[in-house]
Structure formats: C-alpha cells, structure tokens
Subunit: 190 residues, 2 copies
Amino acid sequence: MRKFAIAILALASLGSAAGPKFNAKQELERPADYRNWVFLTSGLGMAYGPSAREMATPPFDNVFVEPKAHAEFLKSGHWPEGTTFVLELRRSLTGQSINKTGRSQGDVVAMEVAVKDSKRFSGGWGYFEFANGVASKAAFPATADCYSCHKENTAVDNTFVQFYPTLLEVARAKGVLKAAYLQTEQAAKK
Amino acid sequence: MRKFAIAILALASLGSAAGPKFNAKQELERPADYRNWVFLTSGLGMAYGPSAREMATPPFDNVFVEPKAHAEFLKSGHWPEGTTFVLELRRSLTGQSINKTGRSQGDVVAMEVAVKDSKRFSGGWGYFEFANGVASKAAFPATADCYSCHKENTAVDNTFVQFYPTLLEVARAKGVLKAAYLQTEQAAKK
C-alpha cells in the first residue's frame, strides 16, 4: 500500500512536469519548479553580441532543462516537442560570508525561457523573458535577435549544447552536432 | 499498463537514489548520478582559507544535493542521515564558441563529497575528494581542515546554506540558521 502511494506520488510528479503551459492570451506561464529540473551549466558574465563588454558586476546564468526532455536527448540526441529551457540570471556577490576571492550567487535578476513548439513558432522555438514577479509572458516577436542568434550559432537544434559539457559529449557521440558548429570548432583549434 | 510501467520506472528511480554506498574497505563509492540531483549553486574561484588568492584560471564549483535529502530539508529545515552533497569543480573557459566576455564551464577537475552519517563520523559528517577516474575513496582524516571549517563557518548543520540562495530562504523561514552565522551576517551589514 505504501509502495503504491509512492508510485501515485511519482506519477503525479511526472504529470506536473508534462510541458509548458500557455494561457488564453497565448502567453507562457512562468515555469514554477525549474529549480528541480536538470542543471546543465552556469556561466559568469557571458555575452555574445557585437556590443558585449566585460561587466563590473557580471551575473551568473544557471541553465536548467525539463527532465523528460533531458532523458529524451540522452536517448536520441534530439529535443522533443514541448522541451523547455530556463536560463536563470542571478546577481554575483564578492566577499559573501567567509568567501575571500571569486564570486558566489545572490538574488534572481531575471529568467529567460525557450520552448520548442513547432505549431506555435515558425522556427520551431519561442523565446521569453520574465522579470521578477511576472506570472505570464508573450514570446518575443520573431524579429528579435534571440531567434536569429539561436538559429545561426547553436550546436544542436537551436540549443547552445556547446556550453553544456555533459550534453556536448552526448551530441558528439550521437553525431547530431551541426556541420556549421563543427567547422567553427575546428577553426578555433587552429 | 503503460501508466503502471511508468510507475515502476519511477519507483526504480527513487530506489536508486537511496543514499551513499560504502564498500568493504569503508570507502565511499563515487556518486554516479549526481548530475540528476538538485542543483544548489555555482560559484567561480571561491576560496576561504588564510592562503586564499585570486586565481588566474578560477574553477567553477557546482553544488548538488541528493533529491530525497533536499525534499526533507524543504519540509523540516534539517538534513536527514545519509544526506549527500557533491561539489563538482570544473575548469572555466574564456572565449568559448561565440562567447566574448566572462567564463563558461569546461571539463571536470575534481569532485568533493560530503556525507551525513553520525554512526561513521564523530562530528556527524564525512568529507571526501575524488580525482577524475577514482571509483572509491576513504574519508579525509578527522584532523583535516574541512571538518573544522564546516563545523565553525556553516549556517546550518555543517552545510554552507549561506551560499545556496534557495535554501537560505527556507532556513531563515524555519529558524534553523545557527546563532553564530546570524551574528556574522549582522556584522557584515554594519
């Protein structure tokens, strides 16, 4: 009976992670439990665009992916429909508690979300930004930089697998790295 | 039938996270699936001791805790027997792929582990370090710095909850922060 109860609980928990939720206005609801998803990496002060500059107070960016999508990627090297990524930006702190060098993590500054949904988004993926306290949000318009940058510079299917060490190994083993990414990787080794 | 199969799978997955394993030599076996545990934080180039210096190539430290222990902490503010933490040290990279500033994560350098087991360890917790490729490891001797540092400087029960933003809120709400930690926090605000 106890085992059965645990099984029901586990099913309920699997059910609640069943994918992104959109409201009647077609806005994405803020992912609630992403801190229990699979962690992929954290960077500090990363920036990509032509205006990228070293920052005086660089934020950390923690990347999480929904566990069922992660399991599918490990198996097939592909992201299923409904795959959701969260990039959580946190303030970085110096000298916190007994720490004497480097940086530790502070409060959340903002959250960025990517959702794979080929019916909603012409390029297959939609991009969102949630300020603190925002419950739901429309996707950025298709003209926003995120769409072109993710399309052109990602290693696998609009996702920056080159920055996720555990998945980069998987993608390489499964042969799903884009030819364009492999070329830039080769060029960087010269 | 399909639902039942998922339930069995979920039970199996819960079972595999059932705590630290020690071999016949009383060495801890290397935690295998910690990248699927709950992520608590990542720091860059953090150092505590009197000899702490800024590093030319600071490592990232990703902290994970076993999910059942995490769930218990959220509920009670206490770490149960068998609680296991992994601190994964990774090389930090500059200029990887399209990244122009800051740092992203590279290969694993080493892994540190903390296990709560009051029968094995007189202070309640044991500390371990695994170089890459090491399958099992004896705890550091009780005279090692890690024991005294964790005992004296941690916010909750030998754990550096002050560096884990999501748990610091929980600990504060549950009133489990140590008096000594609260004093240093107050002093830092002055």
